[in-house]
Symmetry: C5
Subunit: 85 residues, 5 copies
């Protein structure tokens, strides 16, 4: 799972039915700086540092596996051990 | 899901049956600049900014999961929150 | 799906049964320049520009999904719209 | 499977149910230097060099395949042949 | 499928049951130079040039698909057409 910063939400008028009414987050990769779009079952907010799962596990991590995402936010990061040292 | 700009359509006389009669779009990755080929169930046009799903979810995002793609356009992006600020 | 140039065929005396008697093509990625090995159900020739599907869809795109490839040539590219302009 | 160094553990108060009560490790990729988050069925410790499996195999490598990870530590590396030479 | 050089074998005292008693090879990517760990059903030796399949196909390419690998050596490369020219 990779680490991202939440930039904001994504607005699009036309999209496939397979994403249902899920709100989408724009994430910035913490290492490459590239933006990506993710589904968000944990309610992350702009400024949060999160980790997200990719591939087929992204679908299973949603409450409804028929949401056809390939990137799902799994958790909001508080503090990792290596930062506490 | 990654973010792309639509460059145009792809024409090829010989192709596998597994893509059926789907039209194909040429996309330019918004960050690496590389071109990729995607199936398009939303009707995107050249110049549109879109996001697309990869992996096995790309097949499910089509109306017919037996279309053997690995990249499917999921939506046309209007405006993201971070741009509105 | 990514875009490649066909470099030639791959010869190997010892290989897993899971690729059966499929001939294999050596492809050069059109953007990174790296070589990759792909199965070829469309009959591409050296010098052709092709696009290829990766992941689990690569198996389905073969006539026989029990061919254990992760990269399959899907079509030979003639001309894309953005080049015709 | 890729090679990583274990940096520490990840603490997060809010996360998806799909990771259950698994502890999570922060890993540093041995080649790119990027951080990633992995599940750990082998009990690795900070400073260990490990290899980890990605994709759908990451779920199967856990005792419980319903843990929705995409990166699982598979083993602690002692010494590879090329280092012993 | 990508191209690698075999560097040696991997020794690790503690590892997940999902890899069973398979011996593991350390491979060097022919283009990036990064090391990776793969299962080997063809009996490759240090110095061999090989190609390997990734993703879910890596499991199917083993005799036993319950070996939870994401990279499996598929064949030893003798000579490709483009080198013979």
């Amino acid at each position: 799972m990779n680490i991202f910063h939440v930039e904001g939400s994504l607005v699009c008028t036309r999209r496939v039915d397979g994403l249902k009414n899920q709100s989408l987050r724009v994430l910035r990769d913490a290492f490459t700086g590239n933006l990506a779009v993710a589904t968000d079952p944990v309610g992350a907010r702009p400024g949060n540092r999160v980790f997200a799962v990719s591939g087929s596990a992204a679908r299973y991590a949603m409450d409804d596996w028929k949401i056809y995402t390939d990137l799902t936010i799994c958790g909001i990061i508080d503090l990792s051990d290596d930062e506490a040292d």
